[in-house]
Symmetry: D2
């Protein structure tokens, strides 16, 4: 592994520009809140990118120099260009880590990587959530207690229409009666993907120490490990046949 | 489970029409060889569909009355219409079984469901393959010995760029020095998918008793089980919050 | 698969003999309640066995003629002889299905098969449980709605110290704030194991239609599929080396 | 994660003392060959322990100060005391990493953790093995090419009677016609386990750069991550019921 992980924090960055309450909660945008936390971590080099920049801020130069990309989107999934989605997809398959946050379950990139609808149940009444760690030996659970509690949150409930995760790290309990697979690890191609449920534009979820710590852990876990670059296509036999 | 499994055997059906040797090997087409075997199984109702029929033979009426679809394609993946692929995709996610055969690893429908390139190594020198059963308790291995041997086959080698299967049933050994995850089970949505490697247009693979038996087993395993139809979207709390 | 599944329903059968309230709830014992339901299923041949019978009712003759064994125990795990546990263990590895119910998470046989402590959190205040189906395509979810609700139950909470299940079918929500992986599928050797959480001696859980249906589904899923009997030890090469 | 990983390299250390050829191949014992390589890695503090030391060199003091234990045994599995096995088992479940090498598939500790026989096929004719990387994004594959080749080795063949690994990293091809799941990751309790096939007492496998690199990678992967210590037993509700 390289010494420094180059992280790009991507954010749709629309809610913050149109809603005063949200702007106040995230004065630097949701990307700013996440990036500021990650910048304080040892060994991370952090930049941000947003939807309304040219190429959504994800030029070839940026993508080729990103080890882990975090993704938050909600109201404008449809405005993300297919060309950029295809590039991000190719980068993940060739080894870039991807951290998919909250409502980005419905982003084009996550759905393309999962192959399923990624649909779920939801409700916005600010109820309580408790994320239980079910795989305590996993590095994404480093430094946590047995659960993370979020006093007021949007609910996401099962059935969450995703492939069975390679490793399930968190299961959420919600006051209203639902459960959710909230922390899901996937290998896809040479890349690693972590879906992490918490996060909302009108709630201070991305100021929550536990949530931020999980994101930082996930960035470390998803960083490229330096394995082989598979080759494909027609090959000669390695043995006499 | 219903008493009868309605199977649709889909085939590209091009090689057989243009190459005399292949036509002789599969006088009823590859679909015919597979369908004839399945028709002799108890509890299966079998029809076929091919690329050059209107809507590739996969009309709404056909798809809505198919419990398990088997898919063989090779030279004309690109000619399968996206509209039909989208319909098949939706049907799998809502419960239809899908058996993906050999070179259909590169079919639009399999790649869309997997979210990865599904690329691999290959070689056509007619070498020997031995498929080892690595999960002997799985119903897809019913009636088999410890391995299936295929005297002359096309080689497919790792890295096979797919998500880790939910269950890995077969691993292939090839004389030329490669290995391959040859029998892979996946849940996607409410549907079950089985990728099965053997099969080639110029070789009598679909006349091989072991190969045909696995396809029949896989059809039974992938048949819809009658579970719940998940609902999605905004929901009221089930508990007082 | 054979036409008839031979099921042995095993029960510790102690609570029912010493506690009047429990005896009234389960006049034929917990095993009786489960066996009566299974007997009404097509294609099942059902017998029972209990701790205080000679060899706990699990003689070689019984075990060798059992396709699927269901196991309930609670207060007397330690009284189950190691010799019988070793025999059951060997039978599971050679293909017999095993359904592990509720407090049998702490049975010798389940712990031996899992290799972990199988420990968990618990509480007996008769709170509400809701078991969400998270893998709707799995045959164990056949005939169910999106969740099973149990009005009054003992709580089991994560961390449940088991290996990651091969397939996770149910996750429970509890009123008191916990979650639990309540329906867990495992392949071990040639056998299939299903752990199912609900069930308690002082509550009518084994009269609950949804719970009983899951047990019957699990019996069908866990029945031996007729795959190969692996051989082990020193072997000659299959190819010229 | 702590800065330094404390590794204990355990070896049966019998073959080397009784067989001149083996002694010449591994003058410091197999443990010496492995330990010497690991000592040269940044951030590893390495000691060794062997069967014939008091408590097999695995005193409480040693175990409590071991982050990752590597285990090689072959002819004397039965001489490892059950008390020590129980202690190692408990340490793994509470977070210590365990690397299980070659013939240690039959060690008491591995079989206890897996819950299965861990049996396999084998043959000693010094044939060729090729270990293919099937999960190139996994950290255990760091720095490797697409495969590792071992010119002369003992063969291990499927069916390998283990639970399905959480992640399968390597599959071996053997000249004699078999395949093997050669690099298998498991979570058990809070601990991580890696089974790695290569290695033999009469062959210079533990002088092979690729093999040693995998062992070093595995040590890093298996090191405790600092997650929560689960608590078990009776608990009060976290919510008003």
């Amino acid at each position: 592994m390289k010494d420094t992980i180059r992280v790009t924090v991507w954010n749709e960055y629309r809610h913050e520009k149109t809603n005063e309450k949200i702007a106040k909660l995230y004065p630097d945008g949701i990307h700013g809140a996440i990036a500021n936390y990650l910048k304080a971590q040892p060994g991370m080099e952090v930049r941000t990118a947003t939807l309304d920049e040219p190429e959504h801020g994800l030029t070839d130069e940026v993508l080729n120099n990103t080890d882990v990309l975090t993704w938050w989107g909600h109201m404008a999934h449809g405005e993300v260009s297919d060309a950029v989605v295809d590039k991000v997809h190719a980068r993940v398959l060739s080894g870039m880590g991807l951290i998919v946050l909250h409502s980005a379950h419905f982003s084009k990139i996550f759905r393309k990587l999962m192959g399923t609808t990624c649909n779920l149940k939801w409700r916005e009444i600010g109820e309580k959530e408790r994320l239980w760690v079910v795989e305590p030996g996993h590095p994404i659970a480093a430094g946590l207690g047995e659960y993370i509690e979020i006093e007021h949150t949007e609910m996401y409930g099962e059935r969450f229409d995703i492939p069975q995760p390679d490793t399930l790290v968190f299961i959420s309990w919600f006051a209203g009666g639902e459960v959710f697979r909230s922390g899901c690890c996937f290998h896809r191609g040479a890349g690693k993907i972590f879906y992490f449920r918490p996060g909302h534009e009108t709630l201070p979820i991305y100021h929550h120490e536990g949530v931020l710590r999980v994101i930082a852990n996930a960035v470390r876990w998803a960083a490229p490990a330096g394995g082989p670059k598979p080759t494909f296509g027609n090959v000669k036999p390695l043995e006499k046949v």
